[in-house]
Symmetry: C2
Subunit: 359 residues, 2 copies
């Protein structure tokens, strides 16, 4: 099955220097995928020329040209554009055009390393949310001790969530894990400050009730450390909490990496030891490399949207593109719709209860 | 100045096996401190006898006996006792008696590794909160990249905070940092999901307004990674968010420590490399050892209460005791009162505004 991925080539801290090489790499590695490179066509062409010419022997042409297409978009959303400016003031931005390609069905998914707020606002406006989903959520697959990954959502799209929204996030997260990790009935944990049922605020307590009655494979409350323990496949939380947890983790990882670097370069002996320990340190570095985890999913939309980290390099951005390919290939959207509909029907049986929980 | 510390000897996962050796160590290291060992007197005596006899030469007696006193308390709060059970059903618990020693002025501070919910409930009941403080908060000093520490609160005592409470936490955190780190005007960051003023939920936006008008040294919004960057001396957040961020960090640190261990024991060569790298790994391990950071402060009470991690060993519990000694020696309570009163007077000028923010 051929999948078509629209790439916002102008997004991210580095723009074309990252997005175009990553796209070319994916062309080579994903023979069933086509890529629509969206952005200033003259700049994309120049970037392609720089990369392709030295690789090709004279007269060999571009073997991948049939699977790479440039789609012109003369505007670009800046990393610090407020969502409203990006949405209303830049109708020809690469981000907007890439999302419109998904909307029109010319692309199966869109990938962008651009500004998250703008991407979320434009994606909601262009694609709309699925029936029964109030607002989209950002889901990320974080590595866990078990060697797998824990899908956490929401990571910042929604700062005040109702119990119903947390339930919707659980449905969306389960559909994602089913599609990308081929799990039949993923387990769901509700992020809380203790495992006991009495813990947490009113929204979380009510969300636990909804989850227990939802038909999902609900494990119960989990705590912050369970994300990295891999206690459940999916961890559901308010976007404020999720964002803080994710960024605190990033900060801690950076601090620890800095300490390792400092200790192994402290003096000549330490540097010699680093040289000897290189194979072990290399394996460790490979294991904790966050780049293969790049590519958060904006879930709940009528289209597949993958958000790369803004500071991703080409290697990391390639993983975000591959996530879009995988999500398209495994029909994430159709799976999500077919998973969410029966759960919503189940919920619809008790609307009074459900609305009482919207605190 | 002599300070007297009441130690709940029965609290924590290990109880006496941890608390008594730690207390003895502190007797040796803190010549100006007296320690009241609270718990089952016969068991404490037996634990002391086991530890002291082998160390003393015959007839030398106990040099520290004048600074160690046993206070009998026949009940113990279990790690899984609900706060209400601990509060109402165990009036002779070591935790309760230790807090009452602070209340009566016989002790300057209390240290417990017991169950957090029970400690908070009993401490509030016995000691009461300071004027102008709605509820106590849990503050922890986390290590940062700068080699110092960032004081984060609340870490779980309050799951739904008003903007006023966040302001109160900022005042309490600043008083703590002033007392323990001798900082004149500690900087305060408000934990949020972006640095921009427009970010966050209504409570956080309102708290930022209050903080800007408070007279505190308010830096503005900070994000999760700023905790470990050391951007500000104090980071203020809702207890739900703070608890999740702390536990996610713990989980990540454990996962990474596990990866290091696995890579350095993977095969004979890796184990040999570990042996060679021992001095460097040892320094790294020393730098990331969380035990010297043990000892969270329950702030906002009319008494100094230090909460040790339940799983602390004697070395870690010793740091919690030393924190109590330091806080008493630097008169944390008096400093907190004198810092909070003028700030509250400042706030009292606009009660209507303030109450409008209590969402």
């Amino acid at each position: 099955m051929t999948v078509r991925i629209a790439i916002d080539c102008m997004g991210g801290d580095q723009g074309l220097c990252v997005t175009v090489p990553a796209a070319l790499q994916c062309v080579a590695e994903e023979p069933d995928a086509q890529f629509l490179l969206v952005g200033r066509s003259q700049d994309i062409q120049a970037a392609l020329d720089r990369l392709v010419r030295p690789m090709s022997t004279p007269g060999s042409g571009r073997p991948q040209s049939g699977r790479l297409e440039i789609v012109d978009a003369q505007q670009a959303v800046a990393m610090d554009d407020p969502p409203a400016v990006a949405l209303r003031g830049k109708r020809n931005s690469s981000m907007r055009i890439a999302l419109e390609l998904v909307k029109s069905g010319r692309a199966d998914a869109c990938v962008s390393a651009g500004n998250t707020g703008a991407l979320m606002a434009i994606a909601r406006f262009v694609l709309k949310t699925l029936d029964g989903i109030d607002r989209p959520a950002i889901a990320h697959m974080l590595p866990n001790e078990k060697g797998g990954s824990t899908t956490v959502l929401d990571l910042g799209a929604n700062v005040d969530c109702s119990a119903e929204q947390l339930l919707q996030f659980a449905m969306l997260g389960c559909a994602l894990v089913s599609a990308l990790q081929a799990r039949e009935r993923p387990t769901v944990g509700l992020l809380n400050i203790g495992e006991e049922v009495i813990k947490g605020n009113e929204v979380v307590k009510r969300a636990a009730e909804l989850l227990r009655a939802s038909g999902l494979n609900f494990h119960g409350n989990v705590e912050g450390n369970d994300i990295y323990r891999g206690t459940t496949d999916v961890v559901v939380c308010d976007g404020f909490v999720g964002n803080v947890a994710l960024k605190a983790s990033e900060g801690l990882a950076q601090m620890l990496a800095g300490f390792v670097r400092e200790e192994f370069t402290r003096n000549a002996l330490a540097r010699l030891i680093a040289l000897i320990a290189r194979p072990v340190l290399g394996r460790f570095r490979h294991r904790v490399d966050h780049r293969p985890h790049n590519g958060a999913c904006l879930l709940g939309l009528r289209g597949i949207v993958i958000k790369s980290h803004g500071s991703a390099d080409a290697y990391a951005f390639g993983f975000a593109i591959r996530r879009a390919v995988e999500a398209s290939r495994h029909q994430l959207l159709a799976r999500t719709e077919s998973a969410v509909v029966p759960l919503l029907a189940n919920l619809a049986g008790r609307p009074a209860e459900a609305s009482a929980g919207a605190l």
